[in-house]
């Protein structure tokens, strides 16, 4: 799966799962609150029934002439009677509670008695809340949310894949097209370059050396595009050979390769290369990294602009005095097929390749740019 596909799928899943989770959470919360109230109401109903029994017993007790009035005790709840001024009369509590004061984790029920049997105007009943059914409800809701989460995640994944299928198909077709094109381009480009080299070697056609140079530049550009496209296509399948590479020598070599292009644009080339800078890297990866940065700096440079290439043991830097990049485009410029400037030709794959190489070797890429002033790209070898 391509990076862009993964990103789209992830975004879709995040939105889908987020909204589903939010909706389920609200529904579950409403259901939980209503069920909890229902469970507490059931427990309160039991207290109400007990209060009726005690009230009847108080009535009988009020009519008793006995010197010993036995207070009616409930088996399931504590109770107490209060006079009209809410003063405690009698009850089963070890510490008489204040009427109207709510206790935590306790279910209370107050009933007004009239007439005031034994002077009792209020009857208070309370018992600890039975949390067993509430905990069972919570457990069931958590299980339900988990199962629903798993179900909707699977469903979302399949839906997401279904939605990105057309995009995937387009990318696939584009890749196939690039693959076919590059394959077909290889032979003619190689033929042109070999023949130009032969003409230069044997010194024929000196009269037309300018034209020949232009053909050489065009062919090299084509060749580089071909290399880039091949690199992208084979990126996951080609076996890398990590060697102790002399980067100083390689960059000098690549600068010679690009010299014709730089000359054509009359660039002021400044090269500052520290000798014996060596890196553990695949040669093709290194070439793709260097070529893309240098060719971009040439391509987007102004005529007679500055091209500054610097290599040290810590970093490789390419600076140009070209068109520059908008600040808002700087964050997305690394994406494949993304082009901040359409003034020059290209596919928008150069910086994607640079980014891939940088990421696979753990390098750090710094990019600074000012519109109409130029761009500076620095690849730091170590973090």
């Amino acid at each position: 799966m391509l990076q862009s596909e993964k990103r789209s799928l992830l975004r879709f899943l995040l939105i889908y799962m987020g909204s589903t989770f939010l909706l389920f959470s609200i529904a579950s919360w409403l259901f939980y609150t209503s069920s909890k109230h229902h469970l507490l109401d059931n427990q309160k109903e039991a207290l109400k029934y007990e209060s009726q029994k005690i009230e009847t017993a108080l009535r009988a007790l009020h009519q008793s002439n006995s010197n010993r009035l036995v207070y009616p005790v409930s088996k399931t709840a504590d109770s107490a009677i209060y006079d009209l001024d809410k003063h405690y009369i009698f009850g089963t509590y070890a510490t008489p509670p204040v009427l109207g004061k709510k206790e935590k984790h306790t279910l209370s029920y107050v009933v007004k008695i009239e007439p005031y049997y034994l002077g009792a105007a209020y009857l208070l009943l309370s018992k600890p809340i039975d949390f067993t059914p509430i905990r069972a409800l919570q457990r069931n809701l958590v299980i339900f949310m988990l199962l629903a989460g798993i179900f909707f995640a699977i469903l979302g994944y399949y839906l997401g894949r279904l939605f990105i299928a057309p995009m995937r198909e387009s990318i696939k077709q584009m890749n196939h097209f690039i693959q076919d094109t590059t394959h077909e381009l290889n032979t003619p480009i190689s033929t042109i370059l070999t023949n130009i080299e032969m003409i230069e070697t044997f010194g024929e056609c000196e009269k037309n050396s300018d034209e020949l140079k232009r053909i050489e530049i065009a062919s090299k550009t084509l060749s580089r595009i071909y290399d880039d496209l091949t690199y992208l296509n084979l990126n996951h399948h080609y076996h890398r050979q990590i060697i102790d590479l002399d980067m100083s020598h390689l960059i000098e070599e690549r600068m010679v390769y690009f010299s014709a292009m730089a000359e054509a644009k009359r660039l002021q080339v400044r090269i500052d290369i520290e000798p014996e800078v060596r890196l553990e890297i695949d040669k093709n990866d290194a070439i793709r990294l260097i070529d893309n940065l240098i060719s971009n700096a040439i391509k987007y440079n102004k005529p007679r602009g500055l091209l500054y290439v610097k290599l040290t043991k810590r970093y490789f830097m390419v600076k140009d005095g070209g068109v520059g990049i908008n600040k808002k485009d700087l964050t997305t410029i690394m994406q494949r097929f993304k082009r901040a400037n359409s003034s020059e030709g290209g596919f928008g794959i150069g910086l994607d390749i640079v980014n891939q190489v940088v990421n696979s070797y753990g390098f750090v890429l710094h990019m600074q740019s000012q519109l109409h002033k130029g761009t500076e790209v620095k690849v730091q070898w170590e973090k």
Binding site: H62, R68, L69, F90, T92, P115, Y116, L118, G119
Partner: protein, 119 residues
């Protein structure tokens, strides 16, 4: 020796207190309850009627005071049929303070709080 003096003084204080209680009880008996007993009106029943309507000792005390100061069928706790059989009480001649003291003793005597027990 010290212990003997302490025990002696304690028993004297106790006997004084007992006398006080007895005297107070005797006072209430002669001033209030005696007539009720002669007329065969159970005082505890009267108190329960007060309790059932007024709930608190303070409210009962006020209601009793009002009735004793100015006895009438409307101020009485007893139903109107009660006065077909029993005569209306005469207005009390006690001063307010003395009357309030007797009412207090009356309420204390018949208070149900003392009688309530847990099984």
């Amino acid at each position: 020796m010290g212990k003997i003096i302490f025990l002696l003084s304690l028993s004297i204080v106790y006997s004084f207190a007992q006398n006080e209680i007895q005297e107070a009880s005797m006072d209430l008996q002669s001033a209030c309850l005696q007539c009720h007993q002669e007329e065969q009106i159970p005082s505890s029943l009267v108190y329960r009627r007060y309790l059932m309507r007024y709930s608190t000792p303070e409210r009962i005390s006020e209601a009793m005071f009002r009735y004793l100061k100015n006895p009438s069928k409307t101020a009485s706790i007893m139903p109107s049929q009660f006065f077909l059989k029993f005569p209306m009480k005469k207005k009390t001649e006690m001063d307010d303070m003395e009357l309030r003291q007797y009412i207090h003793r009356y309420i204390e005597k018949f208070d149900v709080k003392k009688k309530l027990v847990l099984p």
